[in-house]
């Protein structure tokens, strides 16, 4: 690009060419500086929706149900709730059944190892209202247990087995909690950050 510009301008005006060069160089340099200055996050247009959601949940389940709530500004401004584990089962069935939510479609369910704790992340979709939310549930690392939601969303079945298989989180109430991807006799949970393969170097 710059070479092309220069060539064209050289033939036309040599003065402009000289002026241009000093302008271009500083433009290339400050790039690393721009990167570091994170722009202050603007409040998302979905903040009111989040406040409403949080209020409705606290009304039904009490103050402790939601540990944290924020709008994930990456992508489509996703409402995100961090739900207390003890309240998750109740909230899950509410999320599915309440007329103004109806999150009937379980898009995704993933387990994350956050080193000090585990996290199970649900992405729910409401086909009625065309609306998506994300629910995080924190799980204790020493005693990784979380109520299963297979009875609410049958689609969670294999997802939960996969998370159990790879992260070792116990889903209480799951009909068939067995390893799904790894062999049954596999030792350890591969997706944990501290996982050490048993048979290093075949």
């Amino acid at each position: 690009m710059t070479e092309e510009n220069n060539k064209e301008e050289k033939t036309a005006q040599s003065k402009e060419d000289q002026e241009k060069k000093p302008v271009q160089r500083p433009a290339a340099r400050p790039r690393p500086r721009v990167k570091k200055e994170a722009p202050p996050p603007e409040p998302s247009p979905k903040e009111p929706l989040l406040a409403e959601l949080v209020q409705q949940v606290t009304e039904k389940l009490g103050e402790q149900a939601i540990e944290e709530s924020y709008v994930n500004q990456n992508g489509e401004h996703l409402l995100t709730l961090v739900v207390n584990r003890d309240h998750w089962a109740k909230l899950a069935s509410l999320l599915k059944q309440e007329a103004n939510w109806q999150y009937t479609y379980l898009q995704n369910c993933a387990g994350v190892d956050q080193q000090t704790y585990f996290e199970v992340v649900y992405h729910l979709y409401s086909l009625e209202h065309h609306d998506q939310i994300c629910v995080h549930v924190k799980v204790d690392r020493d005693q990784p247990e979380i109520p299963s939601v297979v009875n609410i969303w049958p689609a969670a079945n294999w997802h939960e087995r996969e998370i159990y298989d790879l992260l070792g989180i116990q889903f209480t109430g799951h009909p068939n909690l067995q390893r799904i991807l790894m062999p049954d006799e596999w030792e350890g949970y591969p997706l944990r950050k501290d996982y050490q393969p048993l048979d290093e170097g075949v």
Binding site: Q107, V112, W153, P154, W158, L181, M182
Partner: protein
Amino acid sequence: MLRTEEMLLNVGPQHPSTHGVLRIVVKIDGEVIREATPVIGYLHRGTEKLAEDLNYTQIIPYTDRMDYVSAMSNNYVLVHAVETMLKLEIPERAEYLRVITLELNRIASHLVWMGTYLLDIGALSPFLYAFQDREKILDLFNELCGARLTYNYMRVGGVKWDAPNGWLQKVEQFITMMEKRMKDYHQLITGNEIFIQRTRGVGVYSQEMAIQYALSGANLRVTGLQRDLRKEHPYSIYDRFQFDVPVGRHGDLYDKYLCRMNEVEESLKIVGQALASFPEKGRVLGKVPRVLRVPEGECYVSIESPRGELGCYLVSKGKDKPWRLKFRRPSFCNLQILPVLLRGENMANLVAILGGIDIVLGEVDC
């Protein structure tokens, strides 16, 4: 007296109709299936774990190997997730190339499904025709990015190659040819009485059930629900194109066939429109930093792959490698419904129903 007792039968893992290495343990009572349990994991390579040790460019070739029938969508979902996190601007020309390749890949994928599915239920010749046409798409891809299946074509910020000279014309020729071929397919299959009798009313499920099991793609649309992520949450530049979302009415296997064939026609339309408005000039790779450091945070993006909703959940801790990368693989989710569908079915329908779901084992096992 006839002695009847239940018998355990192992289908797979090496079985031609499982399209990979899937094992199904079926409990049969005479010809009737009492219980079916899919056993998966034979092709598990730990892509998600491997990805945690690779930087974002290096993961792209690994995604090729997930759904190897439509590797473009896998490529795309990963770069789309990274681009969403980085809030990158993609050059126009790259977006068009992406849409064209994604849709061509969808056509190729549906052709494979159609061919192998009919092969599964006993019709040999459609397979040959379908692969002959798919071959043309693969040749186009080979010319574009140097590989027939593992494209490694998308890059964060654009695509790797610009279209070579004359490539777009070739795509155009292919579209015209394929439109004619679709008529042939309808002539060959759609009206075939044997095929209709084999698939009408088989493997039916209701819309509620499809939603409960979070089916996606043609498996969901066959029940009449019009959910296509290209329409519902337009990603890339899909909002610029006019196309319909074909849905089924009965939720049976024949409708699935019709749905997918109509989708091929819609894809042809999209490619046609994209070619018509293809930008003359421009970069195909935007300005991206050489080392991609994704800011801390997480995002979930999903696209409509030929098999359904292909999602990518990316958690980053500000490094050049993902902290956690999870793919929501449509085949994995869709396969869950198999035991429910098979209960009480005839053994002979197992292959037909399994084929109808359209799974790719590389993606199921990831």
